[in-house]
């Protein structure tokens, strides 16, 4: 009985379809991540600003992102925007907006703490050598910051990939949705399909995220030495 069940994964194009579904969520994650990194770097540089109002705005932004579940934000954009702004956002578009909004805050905070962790004498030595502010920033500070940022950026990427599984709740056809379709199609031929399909999706996510979190751990260890 169960030996028959696992075959559902390899019937016809089922497995390919699952992979295609996975690609949909991965694409969303990669696009949002790329946008978040760019915007987050700018945000992170602003967050150390001495201006009170800039600090306040950043603080409120971070707190909103920290408190609101991503699914709630997705609902707000997906259902709210359609009604209020009259734009009919597709599930994918709302997902990218929300994940970028969330990722930018996370990335900004990472950049901020990385910038703080650079010792002050690095700036001072740069100036003492007669470098301009721009030179100090781009030649001395940024390269060191990137080294410190890499592990946490990779962790953020795996979180982004994991979080994109939520988009099935706003009607994007991704891996979980494809899995459901396969299960529904083979409901009568293979009743145990749900076990194998969801098990497979579980492993697929693991296969995607594991290398990144491993790499992050290795990099972190390397940087410490």
């Amino acid at each position: 009985m169960q030996n028959l069940g696992i075959q559902v994964l390899f019937q016809g194009t089922n497995f390919l379809r699952l992979l295609e579904g996975l690609w949909v969520s991965l694409r969303l994650a990669v696009i949002s991540m790329a946008l978040s990194v760019v915007l987050g770097i700018f945000l992170g540089m602003r967050m150390n600003s001495k201006k009170k109002w800039v600090q306040a705005v950043c603080r409120i932004y971070l707190e909103i992102v920290r408190i609101m579940p991503q699914l709630v934000l997705l609902f707000l954009v997906y259902f709210g925007a359609a009604k209020h702004l009259g734009i009919n956002l597709s599930g994918e578009a709302s997902a990218i907006i929300v994940f970028t909004f969330w990722g930018t805050a996370e990335m900004g905070d990472l950049v901020r703490s990385a910038l703080i962790s650079i010792p002050k004498h690095q700036y001072e030595s740069g100036y003492a050598l007669g470098m301009t502010q721009k030179q100090v920033f781009f030649r001395i500070i940024i390269p060191q910051t990137i080294r410190r940022l890499l592990p946490s950026m990779m962790n953020l990427l795996t979180r982004m990939v994991k979080t994109t599984s939520l988009v099935v709740r706003i009607g994007v056809v991704e891996v979980v949705k494809v899995g459901k379709q396969i299960i529904d199609a083979s409901r009568f031929t293979t009743p145990s399909a749900a076990f194998w399909v969801y098990g497979m999706i579980f492993l697929l996510y693991f296969a995607v995220c594991f290398p990144f979190s491993r790499a992050a751990a290795v990099l972190e260890r390397k940087l410490r030495d």
Binding site: I67, P69, S117, T158
Partner: protein, 226 residues
């Protein structure tokens, strides 16, 4: 905005908020327990169990809760294990949270300087004594910020429970949107409910963090969690 509508339907949200809070509380307590046990197993290098915990931590950290829940709720009944939505939610949250908590405690343990162990050894303490009397108390204090971040993260994660037919806040909101088309009111109440649930936790966490910072030994860098 229809105040009457909000007043009429807020009881549903209150009920759902209590459900979310209850499951989150049970899930977090279980996670902390699992995390603590995993961490001790790894620290004391118990053979076999050590490998199992390592595999568990990697598996749970690298997969989304939603997929874990789907597997528990739709997958397992197919091989004869039927769980209620609530059981699924609690097991899923504990499965996910356990590894995050284990990592939080581990980062705390790693932050305790080696000189502490060495000093204790030179005083003639045994391995168990060193762990439970010297290392653990200091580690618990340092892991509090990550622990707090995890608590907030886990409460947020409860929002996916509606996927396994649990009548949580998101479920109620989606239901209301479907029944009445009052998107604004339903979403506003959803946001308000999460604010009421999480804002106090967030404030409490930052207060606790400020307090335990005094307990740290030296100046330790803490890697932020979740």
């Amino acid at each position: 905005m229809d105040i009457e509508f909000i007043r009429e339907n807020s009881p549903f949200y209150v009920e759902a908020a209590f459900l979310t809070a209850r499951i989150a509380l049970i899930g977090i307590l279980l996670s902390a327990g699992i995390g603590f046990v995993c961490c001790i197993i790894r620290e004391l290098r118990v053979p076999v169990l050590k490998q199992i915990t390592a595999a568990y931590i990697e598996l749970s950290r690298n997969t989304p809760l939603l997929v874990q829940l789907f597997f528990l709720y739709f997958g397992l009944p197919r091989i004869g294990i039927v769980l209620s939505s609530e059981a699924c939610a609690i097991i899923g949250l504990a499965f996910l949270g356990g590894s995050y908590m284990a990592e939080a405690f581990r980062s705390g343990l790693e932050a305790v300087p080696k000189s502490q162990t060495e000093s204790a050894m030179s005083l003639g303490m045994k391995r168990m004594q060193i762990f439970f009397r010297i290392i653990l108390p200091q580690a618990v204090a340092t892991s509090v910020p990550v622990f707090c971040a995890n608590v907030i993260f886990l409460i947020k994660e409860t929002s996916v429970f509606s996927a396994v037919a649990l009548a949580d806040l998101v479920f109620v909101a989606k239901d209301l949107i479907g029944i009445s088309y009052r998107t604004d009111e339903a979403l506003l109440m959803l946001v308000a409910a999460y604010l009421v649930l999480l804002l106090p936790v967030s404030v409490l966490c930052s207060l606790i963090e400020r307090r335990v910072r005094y307990a740290e030994f030296g100046n330790t860098g803490i890697v932020s969690g979740n």
